[in-house]
Each structure stands twice: as structure tokens, then as C-alpha cells.
Symmetry: D2
Subunit: 290 residues, 4 copies
């Protein structure tokens, strides 16, 4: 029985590409963190140290910068599609290329109630993401966001759960529900061809996730995630599937009774660890959903 | 020659107090990270292990939670003043108490263009801070913010600097200027007594810092900071002094010439380390300033 | 076409369990970060808010603590196997349970050249990991380490690579090779039954990874990883497969020529981002390996 | 009343200098994070944008790299003294220069029980630090370490403390005491002139801190810190003063009674926040200490 190379890939991670659009005095900024990787038949590099089929990660980085100029950046998705196609084409041994992009949002600084032409303040909050995978046969686009931190101060319960010998948690009729949402949604196979308006779709999905979180009475974080995912799939036929990873950021009611104070849902301690972690995918079926 | 105890203090750091105001269906949220410390004559605890004068850090934590209910949280400053006074009063051996608060901002989630009553999204961006120091004689309030990340895509130069044998940097006529601003401003001694409107002042100072950053042509980050500080002192007579620590977050122009591309200020790499670090205080003088 | 629930799981992440063995005056410490999750038919929780089949994450946390006492901790693997079995058994709707453990190593503090009985200093360096997956039919144990930071100051080249229009990297005959190694190895299906000596195997694999890194002349990080993986599989028939994720932590030679200094591999800048990222699996085949 | 510039300084932070000593086949590595700053009369840069007296932070970085070659690195202190002297000398407007260095330790990789010539593994654990301040008149050297994480599983109590209305903490007869030690010690004014053996002193102080922590019965973290500081000052007359910042990393005993288990100091949860924070300086006096 022999020892063989299994799945492998390589690339350049976290190239910090900042693209300023300055065609007019009103500049725009695209602030990206770009990671690329190639997979395919690179066995010789592993077993014989033969680099002749290996496009260096340094070249991948150079290409990321060059394409920010040559192709430009109108959206992370559009840029990643171009970059992934180039890397795949430039590397005969590669069978697939992935480009992963994080985008950090900036707002114009307000001066006398108007956005300034070339001064910006980083928005903070969630990071927009995309992961584009390119092969000879197909292109897959999975976009998303992470660290969208949301909280409901009421409208959330957790009760009627399974109990065993190690269960001490009481039912909760009214609790804080908070999470740092990570969501990724896969576009339909023809999305790049249509093409989808990536920026408008991102804004719409984000708004829908937030509104659904706000307006859904929650009997568990699971139920909230399912509602959010269903809402997105119902509204966006160009999206095939959406996945969530949501840490349940516990806010525990503080016992103020020893100090002669009641605490009807007013003072909480925000805990760091441990945290619940709920992961779920909502997808489409050829049959009726439940 | 003997060995003696020098300066010392102790306290509870990073108590994560979340206060929900739910007097009406339209909730409010105050999300705080509270650190307290006491100083005074605690020598016996160090030299003899005698805790009889030591109010435990656990009690300091309890007090932080209890005061979020008993006193309430209208601003970090107001809350910190109450908490600091309590801790000093409760500890006979203490000569001073400091309360440091970070506040994380939340926005209401928009549903049909209106802010929801009890669902929030964390704003991200800068963190608001205050440091209150209370002694028998005086109260010092130093408020501020950190990690306000700003960037100008033009309107910044750096040239005519001192050169020595190790200088290779060329003059820059037009560069990106970016920083993650840390600013702290000390209020006048009577600020707590007036009292100042802490929240309105914070908003005004933040807006003024941003607008001055945007509209000042910069010949160095130092000049920008001085302009920002001067603007704040001119507009806010209740503020005595303002200090900055500002990492110069370098954005280096990428050389695209090897790829047959020009790069007139369009594609940059955002560097992590090293970074310039500029620190400056702008203050008042009984004489005319320069 | 309907909307349906796809893959999902839930659990408690990052429960910080510290177990002191104090059966004799010579204490031992096991310092763990434990994450558990359950998967199975939890659809009702998502679609109907019905928690009746959901063992709370709070209970999972309690069980993690209780099992540190009831079962004890001799190795992360042994503890995780017991905990995973319990969680699966306690949850009728679950078809699988995973337990992920990080272990932080501590050394005894040296006093007069002897290790102290009950005083420890955290070792730092790499973190030991295990991921145990339990179903009715089988148990999978994947152990590993992360952040084992290694560096060779010579004995590494990178040349003869594929070049395209975006390639500017020159051949390197002698460079620093450095990485923060993440490695995971999957044990054979019968490993838990034998049982394997988990601690001894961990120590042996770690030592072998290090020695192979040290003694392999590297024509690429890929070649080094393959050599390390092969060495482990050759020496440990109880291991089926080993996977690596290795950031190429670039150390760039600093150009000192402007200062009249040569730099024959002596002064480097350690870069943060971007970094190469090499991922590879070495596995067994029924055929001869290449 | 005017607005004026107050205290200010500027420099380059976190230059990651890696120095390989390869005079023989048995290489050595010095892995440093170097921050420099200059203070003096730099008012014109702030008020008039005049850079003519400003040695760029880019030049400071260059100098840090050049001095790693020209002067070499035998210890962080020796290197920082040389670098600080150079920067002060090169900048006429400067009245002081500070150089702050973190050093990350590496061990030789063991191959057949012998340390390899040019392959290293990062040790982890504490970071060694020095802060050197150079003016025309004097040189101050403050060395130290941070994140030396230590724990005692017994031999620590906390009781007899001051109680008020917000105190709920019970006396603890036997608890875990753990901290991530930050310590800085100031050398005597003539230390650089003697010179002190910086590396040997560092090792000795570190060992003494650890041994004292281990062997001192603790009635409070304050008492432990004072004992550690006293031990250092007693053993090292070349050290004037030592300061500590020590987070009390709480390990809370888990209540296992609901599960029918006792817990005599065996199972703890390691908490992240909040944490006690104890700061103390131990110094010398012309009088007898208490």
C-alpha cells in the first residue's frame, strides 16, 4: 500500500487591494482583501520539487493588483470572476481557481451635510464577502457577509426543550437574542451570465435579513435563521441556497436581588465564551418544502 | 536601603454591562465595557496579605451592574461619575477611583424605512470612550473615541523633510492619507457640575474631527492632527485639551509598469506593519498660541 | 419548487474546561477549549420553533464540565470520545455528535531545577487539537495541532517556476522558509478500539514533523509538506491520512545597498500580509504511491 | 487665551526585523518587533506643515534594518541603545529618542536529540521587551516581559476583605491563582555603562519571578506581586524598580452538585471577562522598607 498526494491547492491569501476611482473629482474607493488559489495537477511540485507548472503566489498577487486597474472593480463578484478566469487560463496544470474577496465599506465624510468628494470614514460593521470558483465547465458564485451583529431586546423565547440529567437551564419566556451573523448565499448557475446586479442584490439581501430578524418572533435562533433564509429565497429567485453560522451571543440577566433591586429585563452581562453556535442551510427542493 | 511599595492600584476590568431601557415599547440599548480601579493606601494587602481594606474586584463588578439599574445609563460619562463616586465612598482606604467605559453604538434595524422598536444592529466603526477619575477634591473627565478609521484619497503630501544617510523616501506630492484615530479630550474642571451635555458634545466633536480631516489640506499627519485639535478647542470652550494617537496607515502605490499599466493614484496596497505613529496634544495657554 | 431545510447542526462552542488532577500533592492540569455539536433531525426547531427534540447548548456545556469529572481527562481524544458518545446517546433525534477540543500545554515551574508540584507556566507555541465525530456506526478521530511556527534560515530555494506576463519574482537560491503549521491527521477506523496511546502518538508525530521540516532540503513549501506527511504515514500505520494548511510566512531580504551595506541573508523583514497559503493532504492508496 | 501644541512625538511602530547570524553553519536568529519615536521641537510640522526638521518615519525604519546589520543584535537592549543614539544624533530638533523592542524566542528544532543548525521552532509563551530612552543627558533602560501566563492550582486564598452592600463574594480558602504577567524593570542609571549582561539578567529575573510565584503562599495577588518584586530587587542591585500589571485570570469552580458530583477543586471554568487587574510597583527607598 502506497503513500500518495491527496487534495491540494495553493495561492496567495489576504492581498490588500485598495482601488481608488478618480476619473472625476468625486472619488470612489473599493477596499478589498483578496485571496486566490489554484488546484489541479501540481503533484510534481510536491513529490519532486518541480515548480515548472506552478504559477507563483507572488504572480497571483501581482495579477490581483493589475486586474484592479485593467479590469477595474465595480463589485467584488465582477472583479473576482475576471481574476479567477485569468488565473485559471494562465496556469495549464490548473483545473480550478478560486477567488475570495472581503470588502470593507467606507462612507463619505459629511461636511455641511454633504458627502465629501475624497474623504471617507470606514463604516465598520459587517464585512461583505464573495467566493468565486472557476473551472472549465462552470462558475460558482457564493456571496455573503460576516459579523453582522444584531440583537433583539424582546420577542425571543426558548422553552419546551429536551431535558436530561445534565440540564439545568430554565425555560425563558423573554430573553435577549443576539448574534454575529455569518451568511453565504449561492447564486444560480447562470447568475454570472445574466448578469445579476451584484451590488443591488447584496443590499437587498442584507436589508431583508435584518428586517426578518427584527420582525420574526423567535422561539429559537434556529427558527429565526430559517425564517431569514426562506425570506431570501422567496424574494430572490437568482439565489439557490443560503447558509448561516450564527453564534448565540448570550446576554445573561444579572441577579440584582442581593442589592435590593429587581431586574425586569434591564441589566445583562454580555458573555464571551462559551456561546451557542447554530449552523443551517436553507435551500430549494423540487418538491414542496415543509 | 530598603525595598518599598510604589504606586499601585487594583480593580475589575472589562465588565460587559448591557442596559436595556424598556420603560416604553420603544427600547433603548446601552452597551458598555466598564473597568474600574481604586488607589490609595493598600500597602497591607501587598506586604502582609491583609485584605481588610480591600473592596474586592468582584464587588466593583457587582456595583457596576447595580448602578446600571439604580443610577441608570444616560451617557458613559454620567454613569461613570456615579459609579466612581460610589466606589471611592465605599472604600475608606481609597484616595482615588477611576472608571473607564467603552460604549459600542447600535442602530435600530430599518423595517419599511422606520427604525424598529426593539431590534438593533451594531454600528461598528469607532468606539466611544470615557475615563473618569474621582478624588475627594476633584473630578476629571476625559472622553474620546478610538478606531475612527478615516482616509483621504487626495489632498495630502509629504515632502521637504529632513534627510540623512538612511533616507530613501522620495517626496510625495499626492498620496493617500489614512489613520485609525484615537482621540481623548479632557473636559474643564467644572464640566461635571455644569453639567455638560455629554452625548451632544461627543457627537459634535466627532463631526468636527471628521469635517476638519476632510477639508484640511495635509502636509503631514501632524498638521492634520493639529488642525483637528485646534478646531475642537475653538468650538468647545468646555474642553481643555485634546490628545491624539494616530497610526499612519500606509497605502503604497503599486508599481504596475512591469505589466504595461500606468497607475496614477488608482491601485494601492494597504500595509499592516510597520506604520507611522503620530502622537500630539493640543492644549490651551494663557498666552497666545503660535 | 419549495424551500427546505438543508444541512444543519448546533452546539456549544468554546467551553473553557480546566481540569486539575489533585489525587496526590503533585497536581496535573488539563486546559481545554471544548466545542460540541449535534446533527440529525432538528427540522421542527427550524420550521415550527419546536424545541422538544433539542438538547440545549447549555446542557452540552454542563455535560462537558461534568464529564471532566465523571470520565476524567487523560487525553483530549479520550475525553472527546466519551463526551461525544454521551451527547449522541442523550439526544434521540441526533444522528451524529462532534466534539472538538483544543488543549493548551503547561509546564511545571522550575524551582531549584525541579518541577513544582502545583505551579505551572503556560508553554505557548502550538495548540493541540482533536475532532471526534460519533455516529451509531462509526467513530472518526482527527487529531492535530495548529500554530506550530517553524523557520529554516537556509536550505530552501524556489526557482524554475511557471512565468506569465504578471510574473516579476526572481528565482531564489537560498531563502528563509517559515510557516505556522496547521496539521490534522485522521486515525484508522479502529484506533479508538485498539486503543491508540493518544498522547504518545501526538508527541511522536509532532517530533517527526519538526525533524522532517528541519532535515528536508526544500524546493518549495509543497515539497516540504509532502515529505512531512509521508514521514508520518510511514512511521504510523494507525494514521490514515494527514492534511496541512501552511501559510508561507514571507521573510523578505532587506535591500541595504543604499546604506553601503551588503546583506548576504542576514537582515529580513517579516511580512504580515499577503502570504502564500499551501494546503495539501497526504494519504494512503491501495496502489503504489508516486 | 491661545491654543498651543502640547507634548508630541512621532515614529515608526512595529518594524519586524529578523536578524540571522550566519557567520558559521550554526545560525542564530533574533526576531524583533521594533518601534522608534522622536520628541523635541517639531512644532513647525504641526502648525505650518514644515517638515524640514522631521526625520521621516520611513528613515527610522530603514535605520532599524541597517543597524541590525551595522551594529548587530546581541540583545534587544544593546541594539536599542545603538539605534536610539543614532536616531537622536541624526535629528537636530530631537531632544529624546525612544526605542521599544519586543523579542520572540525561538528554539532549535531537535533532530536525534540535538539542536539543528538552521531550523527553529518558535517557543511561544512570554514576549521579552525593552524600552530604551535616550537624551543628551541620560539613558534609561526598562526591560521586561509580557504574557508570562502562570497558574497555581493550590496555595492561594482570598478572604477577610472589606465588605459593603454590593459584596456577594464568599471567602476562598483554596482557589486557583492565575495571571498573564506583565513586568517591567528599570535598570540603574549606570547599567548601560557597566554594561549589564542583558541576556543573563533577563533569564535570571524571569526564573526568579517564576520561582517566587510558585513558592509564595498567596493571600492575594497583590501579595504575590510584592513578593516577586522584592525578590528581584534583593537579588539584582542593578535594578532600581519593577512594575507589574497582572490580570487576575479567574478560574471559577463549577457547581457539579446538580449532577450528583462533588467538585473538590477539580473542575473549573476559565473566564475571559471581566478580570481583576492588579498593578503595583516595587521600588527602592533610602529608608527601610516595610
Amino acid at each position: 500500500m502506497g503513500i500518495v498526494l491527496g487534495p491540494n491547492r495553493y495561492g496567495k491569501a489576504e492581498t490588500r487591494v485598495v482601488r481608488i476611482v478618480r476619473d472625476t473629482p468625486r472619488h470612489e474607493i473599493h477596499d478589498l482583501n483578496v485571496s486566490t488559489s489554484l488546484r489541479g495537477d501540481f503533484a510534481a511540485a510536491h513529490t519532486d520539487g518541480d515548480q515548472s507548472q506552478v504559477l507563483p503566489t507572488d504572480t497571483q498577487k501581482n495579477t490581483a493588483f493589475a486586474f484592479a486597474k485593467r479590469h477595474g472593480v465595480t463589485s467584488p463578484e465582477d472583479y473576482a470572476l475576471a481574476l479567477g478566469g485569468r488565473l485559471l487560463g494562465a496556469t495549464p496544470a490548473a483545473t480550478g481557481a478560486t477567488v475570495s474577496v472581503e470588502e470593507y465599506a467606507w462612507d463619505r465624510i459629511l461636511v455641511d451635510d454633504a458627502g465629501h468628494d475624497h474623504a471617507f470614514v470606514r463604516r465598520g460593521g459587517e464585512v461583505r464577502t464573495t467566493l468565486v470558483d472557476v473551472t472549465a465547465d462552470e462558475v460558482v458564485v457564493v456571496s455573503g457577509l460576516h459579523d453582522l451583529v444584531v440583537l433583539k431586546s424582546t420577542g425571543s423565547e426558548f422553552k419546551g426543550f429536551l431535558r436530561d440529567d445534565y440540564t439545568t437551564l430554565p425555560d425563558a419566556d423573554d430573553r435577549i437574542l443576539a448574534t454575529a451573523l455569518h451568511a453565504t448565499w449561492q447564486y444560480a448557475a447562470d447568475a454570472a451570465a445574466r448578469p445579476v446586479d451584484w451590488n443591488a442584490t447584496y443590499d437587498a439581501v442584507r436589508a431583508l435579513l435584518l428586517a426578518t430578524f427584527a420582525t420574526t418572533y423567535s422561539r429559537a435562533l434556529q427558527e429565526t435563521l430559517y425564517a431569514m433564509g426562506s425570506a431570501v429565497l422567496e424574494a430572490h429567485e437568482e439565489i439557490e441556497e443560503i447558509s448561516f453560522a450564527a453564534p448565540n451571543k448570550h446576554h445573561f440577566l444579572v441577579d440584582l436581588e442581593p442589592f435590593g433591586l429587581d431586574n425586569p429585563g434591564e441589566v445583562f452581562v454580555a458573555a464571551d465564551r462559551p456561546y451557542g453556535l447554530i449552523e443551517a442551510t436553507v435551500t430549494r427542493s423540487s418538491e414542496e418544502g415543509r
